[in-house]
Symmetry: C2
Subunit: 152 residues, 2 copies
C-alpha cells in the first residue's frame, strides 16, 4: 500500500493546517473561530442571503451553520429576518457590530495572507490554486451521494 503519509488527503490536510495555523491566533484574540470568520466575510461580500446559499458560499454543512448563526446572532454580529413571501426562508446579513469587528480583524488577517504569499511566491500560489480547482473539478459528480447507493 502507498506510504500513508504521502497520500493526497494527508498532503492536503497538512498544507491546510500549515496555513490555518497562521490565522487562528489572531482570530482567537477577537473571539472568532475560522468558521465564524468565514461566515462574516461571506456576508460582508454578498449582503443578505438565505441560509442555504450561505452554507454553499461559506462551505459549511447546514447543521454547523445553524448552530453558528444562533451564536453569532446572540452576539449581535449578524441579523436575521424571515422572508415575507416564504416563511421557511430566513435572510441573514451582517450587523453594524459585525462590520466593525471585521474592520478590526481584517488588517492582521490581510498581513498574514500577504506574508504567506511572500514566502511561498505569488506565482506558485496562483499555480497551486489553479491545480486545486482542477482537482475539485475532476472529481465533481463522482461522489455526489448517488454512486454509493449501488453498493448497499
Amino acid at each position: 500500500m502507498r506510504e500513508f503519509s504521502r497520500s493526497l488527503p494527508m498532503s492536503l490536510l497538512r498544507a491546510r493546517e500549515a496555513v490555518m495555523r497562521q490565522f487562528r491566533p489572531s482570530l482567537r484574540q477577537h473571539g472568532l473561530t475560522e468558521q465564524q470568520w468565514r461566515i462574516l466575510r461571506a456576508l460582508a461580500a454578498i449582503g443578505a442571503v438565505e441560509v442555504t446559499e450561505l452554507a454553499r458560499t461559506a462551505f459549511l454543512l447546514g447543521p454547523s451553520l445553524s448552530r453558528i448563526l444562533r451564536d453569532l446572532e446572540a452576539r449581535h454580529l449578524i441579523e436575521r429576518k424571515t422572508a415575507k413571501e416564504d416563511q421557511r426562508r430566513s435572510m441573514v446579513s451582517i450587523s453594524e457590530k459585525g462590520v466593525k469587528l471585521m474592520a478590526v480583524v481584517a488588517p492582521t488577517s490581510e498581513a498574514i495572507y500577504a506574508e504567506i504569499t511572500r514566502r511561498f511566491g505569488t506565482r506558485k500560489l496562483a499555480d497551486l490554486q489553479e491545480m486545486l480547482g482542477e482537482l475539485e473539478q475532476s472529481l465533481a459528480g463522482l461522489g455526489s451521494a448517488d454512486e454509493a447507493i449501488a453498493e448497499e
Copy 2:
C-alpha cells in the same frame, strides 16, 4: 478584500473535501471514520509506537487521538501495553482483528485512489503534492505557537 471564495484556505478546504467525499461512504460501511482509518494505516505501516509519535504520524492532536484509541481498543482493533522502562508511555499496535479489517477495506480504498489519480492525472497529482509540500515547508517555523506571544 480578496474575493472570499478564492482564498488559499478555501481552495485547500474544497479540494480536500472533494477528495474525502470519495472515501467516506466506503469507510462508513465498515464503521470507520477517516481518522480511525488513518490510525490503522499508520499502525500497520509502523508497527508498535508510542501515542505521541502516533499523533505526529497520523496528524492528530493528542486529545483526539486519546479518545479514538479508547474506542478502537474497546472494539479490539488495536492493542495497548504500557512500556516497562517508562510507565508513562504506552505502546500502541494494531490487533489481528484490525489487520483483517484493513484487508477488507483496503481494496476499495485503493480503487478509489486509483480512480482519483486517473481522473486528475498521475503527473499532475505528483506536481500538486510537490507544491503542497513546498507550501508546508515555506510556512514551517512561522506559526509554531511562539510568535503569537508577542501580541499578548
